[in-house]
């Protein structure tokens, strides 16, 4: 386990969560900060400029969604949502509003730390350059709009290519249906999840079984291309 570094703000009103997260994050090399309410969280972000925020959606003083919105007005710090499974709508709204990822309670510590590392890695490097993108045998060249897997060119339609590029640029992150649909088809088609399913299906077929295992479905939320 590599030792990472960075300040991490944990926003949760349950003292029990802080109780184990603080030593766990510390042991992983991070510096934990603590906030129990939305207001305090916003102040802490402004004052301490954390490298990442772990945000619980159910806070006593304000809705997690509102916290996120306010936060995004002045900061682009990566945010990972700590959420319960049945709060799906809140989760999606949070992702749409600019959260980077989410973990479901009860989460495994290993999983949380991995997500934290991914989010930190992508921090501050928006990949909109025309530089070729390469990882795990997949090469995407935005200049020529071509993609190849293990040296073999993929025959993709324009939409399939755009979808793959979008997922690859945001690899490791969850993209909500709405985010993908808005990016590819425009804001008028944010409800057409069925389209998206068809394209994802085709893309998986063309990528082959072994690679498409990385293209995971987040049920009810969206898709994620894992690193």
């Amino acid at each position: 386990m590599s030792i990472a570094s960075g300040r991490i703000l944990v926003v949760d009103d349950e003292p029990q969560i802080h109780r184990f997260l603080a030593p766990a994050l510390q042991a992983a090399g991070f510096e934990p900060l603590r906030a129990e309410r939305g207001e305090a969280a916003l102040r802490a972000v402004a004052a301490n400029a954390p490298d990442l925020v772990l945000l619980d959606l159910g806070l006593p003083d304000m809705d997690g969604h509102a916290v996120l919105q306010k936060l995004r007005e002045f900061s682009s710090v990566p945010v990972i949502i700590l959420s319960a499974r049945d709060r799906e709508a809140e989760k999606i709204a949070a992702l749409d509003a600019g959260a980077d990822d989410y973990v479901e309670k009860p989460f495994g510590l290993g999983e949380l730390l991995a997500r934290i590392r991914t989010a930190l890695r992508h921090k501050g490097q928006p990949e909109v350059s025309s530089q070729p993108l390469e990882f795990d045998g997949l090469v995407i060249d935005p200049a020529s709009a071509k993609a190849a897997l293990h040296g073999e060119a993929l025959t993709l339609t324009r939409r399939e290519y755009e979808l793959l590029l979008l997922l690859a640029r945001n690899r490791g992150r969850v993209l909500t249906h709405r985010q993908i649909l808005t990016a590819l088809w425009g804001p008028a088609h944010t409800e057409d999840v069925a389209y998206l399913r068809v394209y994802i299906g085709q893309l998986r077929k063309k990528l082959g079984a072994s690679f498409s295992a990385r293209l995971s479905t987040e049920p009810g939320v969206g898709y994620r291309l894992q690193e």
Binding site: D13, E14, Q16, I17, R19, F20, L21, P23, A24, A27, A28, G58, L59, P60, A84, R85, D86, R87, K105, P106, F107, G108, L109, G110
Partner: protein
């Protein structure tokens, strides 16, 4: 051209025939033509073909030939029925139903059953057999047909008592006319084939005169032909053969209280039959003799018509209005020969005004029919006695005061007496008073005294004027009285109807409605009962008075009413010997129960009508109550759905949070245990223990609540010492500070379940701790309030907003305010409430506390009230 489609009504009628038994009637013109013989003959042929034939009942009339003809046919034993000391041998319907042959022979379709049997008439037995799917052959003489009854009586001079509705003949799928020329019939009679010789001789001169037989034969032939005609017509309709159809005719029979009422109905029915037109029997209520009217209206219904009763002063106008509104084409009425009052001269009035209708005048019956006319109620002599006494008193008083009373004054006094008697006891009493008064005045007061002669011509005029005035006032006052009586009866009926309308609209629950219906029926008749379909068949629901019971026969009548959707019991033709009257209760078009009343007498028509209305309203109210119950159940389901949702959301938070903490702490310890400071390691372990405890408490709360919701809570009642119990509860809530535990001496013991009450107190204390800042204090007090002990737990916490004082006891109330208010399950107070109520106590919340300073936290008092012990 498009093929015309068959008439749907005709198709439905033909389908309805399927599944039921086949009825064949051997129709004859007179006794002795050989109907039974022909039936037996044909039955033998069927038997030889292998049909399972059983003779249900064959009347041999002592004729050896017939008995012989019966031969080897299986015959059902007859059922002995005790009647007035004799034993009558009757057809055993239940045995026949049980034996269920393919073909059953039942002689004499028009027979009237002995009282106490299920049906009043044998044709009703046959109807039941047909419905059970048994094919029936029966015999019938044409003079027994209801609509031909008068005609036959007029021709033969003999009125037949045993009649049956014409619709029965229509029930028959097949009619075989057994025809014998009159001369041959007479020969057979003479030869003694039909009656014993002495009877035969008398019969030859009476009923069996050649002319009679000829006429009867013609009637029978015509009736059979009519039937065939109808078969053809119905075939044409079924097969959609376009044909000249009679234009829509409609026959109205005017039913009055006079003797011709039933004749009119029969005539109208024949006319309607011939025209293939619907029949309506029309009666304008006048308060006169009701039994005869009702009999005529019933007859019309039996003959397949409809009965209508209206309230009207101007009879002719009412008839015309109804006729015009209902497309009547023919009006049948009786010739009212004896009516001398101008207003009642309906015939004339209608002849003049009913220009759009065909009028039929039916002659009065030759003689009052002894068998069909209802017996007149015995004359009430009381008014006449009273009139006599009053007249005597007035006369004696007059004689005594003769010296100062002018004789004319006596006339006025007598006139007053006449008016008083007429308005009290009716027209006849008035007339009686007038006539006796006339003679008394003349005899005692007009000179020459003590003779019936009159000396002064002036007195003679006075006397005549007196008589005239007396007759007139008597008649008028009598009529006013009649109208008052009739309208009072109507008002009473309307009042009753509106009364139970009101009553049922108030009755909220099913059982309220049932009770209401039974009580109304009882107040109308004497006893009321409601039966509903239950698991074990028809079950008694309510009975008023409570000790009224249904014997076996009454129960059978109720069952019959239920299963056949018809009125049964007294006053009907089905099981009329049962003293109850049963009416079906319809909800949603199906019969769901039976309403019964036990009248003191056969119900007069207004009462019967009111009972029917009661049944209708009761059924409607029952339906409403059922719907309300359904709504409540749906509401309960919705509530339990809400509860489940709240439970889910609570589970997701209250289980997930400690679970996350436990998992996180354990993983942290596992991954980097040794790298952590010992204090942190210890803290993580403590956190695991604490969260495990939290989850355990949550689960036990959920289990408690589930136990309450499932109703599986068993409560013990024990005399408990409150102080001990509170102590035990306090011990289970560590870390709380108490200002004091104050239990009054007279509130030291309560009657409760120790386990449940301790949990109640623990939950309340736990709640107080949860909503109070650290370091605040809790007080516990107990005081006596009458038969109760009041236990109050006061805290110095955040309090409860006024609108939520009730809601705090709802399950997952906390969850509805969004989570994170305070750790907990949202079940604590709900469980406290459920447990308290299970122990027969009550619980309430009060906030803010009035004994705390207004500038601090408001605080809350939770009070539990339990029976003192």
């Amino acid at each position: 051209m498009e093929k015309p489609r068959p008439d749907p009504d005709a198709l439905i009628a033909s389908l309805r025939q399927a599944g039921r038994g086949h009825l064949k009637i051997f129709l004859g013109a007179a006794p002795g033509v050989g109907k039974t013989w022909a039936m037996l003959d044909a039955a033998h042929t069927q038997q030889q073909k292998g049909v399972d034939v059983v003779a249900g009942l064959i009347e041999t009339h002592g004729r050896a030939g017939t008995a012989e003809k019966l031969g080897e046919l299986e015959a059902l034993p007859r059922q002995p029925v005790p009647y007035r000391g004799q034993s009558l041998e009757e057809f055993d319907l239940d045995a026949a139903l049980h034996r269920h042959p393919q073909l059953l022979l039942v002689d004499e379709l028009a027979h009237t059953n002995a009282p106490g049997l299920r049906h009043a008439k044998r044709w009703q037995d046959v109807q039941e057999l047909l419905e059970a799917g048994i094919n029936v052959w029966s015999t019938l003489n044409v003079q027994h047909l209801e609509s031909l009854n008068d005609q036959v009586a007029r021709i033969t001079g003999v009125r037949v008592g045993e009649t049956l509705p014409d619709t029965v003949l229509d029930l028959a799928d097949e009619i075989e006319l057994i025809d014998l020329p009159p001369a041959e019939l007479r020969t057979r009679l003479e030869e003694g084939h039909i009656y014993r010789p002495d009877v035969a001789l008398r019969a030859l001169d009476g009923f069996f005169r050649e002319g009679n037989l000829g006429a009867l034969r013609e009637i029978a032939l015509r009736r059979a032909a009519q039937r065939i005609d109808r078969d053809v017509a119905s075939y044409m309709r079924l097969s959609a053969i376009p044909g000249p159809w009679p234009v829509a005719e409609k026959v109205l029979a005017l039913v009055g209280p006079d003797l011709s009422a039933q004749n009119v109905v029969r005539h109208a029915a024949r006319l309607a039959d011939a025209l293939r037109a619907p029949l309506v029997a029309f009666h304008a209520e006048g308060g006169d003799d009701n039994t005869r009217v009702q009999a005529a209206l019933d007859l019309a219904v039996q003959l397949g018509g409809m009965a209508v009763t209206v309230n009207a002063r101007d009879l002719a106008q009412a008839v015309l209005d109804y006729a015009a509104a209902n497309n009547i084409t023919h009006i049948v009425l009786g010739r009212d020969a004896a009516r001398w009052r101008p207003r009642r001269r309906l015939t004339e009035s209608l002849t003049r005004r009913a220009t759009a209708f065909t009028l039929h005048l039916v002659p009065l019956p030759a003689a009052p029919p002894p068998l069909t006319a209802a017996p007149r109620p015995p004359r009430n002599w009381e008014p006449y006695v009273l009139a006599g006494v009053l007249l005597g008193a007035v006369t004696l008083g007059g004689i005594a005061a003769q010296s100062y009373l002018p004789q004319e004054a006596m006339g006025l006094i007598f006139t007053g007496l006449i008016a008083a008697m007429a308005s009290r006891s009716g027209r006849n009493a008035g007339l009686f008073t007038a006539i006796i008064g006339f003679f008394l005045w003349n005899f005692f007061f007009l000179p020459p005294l003590y003779t019936f002669s009159v000396s002064d011509p002036q007195d003679l005029v006075a006397l005549l004027v007196f008589l005239l005035v007396g007759l007139l006032t008597g008649t008028l006052a009598g009529r006013v009285r009649l109208e008052a009586v009739s309208s009072a009866a109507r008002v009473e009926a309307l009042r009753r109807i509106s009364l139970f309308g009101q009553r049922f609209s108030r009755a909220a629950t099913f059982s309220d409605v049932l009770r209401g219906a039974a009580e109304e029926a009882a107040s109308m008749t004497g006893a009321g009962i409601v039966l509903l379909q239950g698991v074990n068949g028809l079950e008694m629901e309510v009975c008023v008075p409570a000790e009224a019971v249904l014997d076996e026969a009454a129960q059978a009548a109720a069952e019959w009413c239920y299963s056949h959707d018809m009125e049964t019991g007294i006053g009907t033709t089905t099981l009329p010997s049962v003293p109850w009257r049963f009416l079906p209760l319809h909800t949603n078009g199906t019969v769901t129960g039976v309403l019964g009343g036990r009248p003191k007498t056969v119900p007069p028509p207004p009462l019967a009508q009111t009972l029917v209305t009661l049944a209708g309203q009761a059924a409607m109210a029952l339906e409403r109550a059922r719907l309300a119950m359904q709504t409540a159940r749906a509401q309960a389901q919705e509530d339990s759905q809400k509860l489940r949702n709240a439970l889910l959301s609570s589970l997701s938070h209250d289980l997930r949070t400690p679970l996350t903490a436990i998992r996180g702490a354990a993983e942290t310890l596992a991954q980097s245990g040794t790298a952590l400071a010992p204090a942190i390691q210890a803290d993580l372990l403590t956190s695991i223990i604490e969260d495990t405890a939290r989850m355990t408490k949550f689960l036990s709360n959920i289990m408690d609540m589930a136990r309450v919701e499932a109703g599986g809570l068993t409560v013990r009642r024990e005399r408990l010492r409150l102080a001990e119990l509170v102590e035990a509860a306090i011990a289970r809530i560590p870390g709380a500070q108490y200002t004091g535990v104050n239990i009054a001496p007279d509130a030291s013991h309560v009657l409760a379940d120790p386990v449940l009450l301790e949990q109640v107190v623990v939950n309340i204390l736990d709640n107080a701790m949860k909503y109070a800042p650290a370091g605040s204090r809790v007080a516990i007090q107990a005081a006596r309030r009458g038969e109760k002990v009041r236990l109050a737990v006061s805290d110095e916490g955040v309090g409860i907003p006024p609108g939520e004082l009730e809601a705090v006891f709802d399950s997952f109330f906390r969850a509805t305010r969004g989570d994170r208010v305070a750790p907990g399950t949202g079940l604590g107070l709900a469980i406290a409430k459920a447990f308290t109520e299970a122990m027969g106590g009550s619980i309430m919340a009060q906030s803010p506390r009035l004994d705390l300073p207004a500038d601090g936290l408001p605080g809350t008092i939770i009070t539990v009230e339990l029976p003192a012990a």
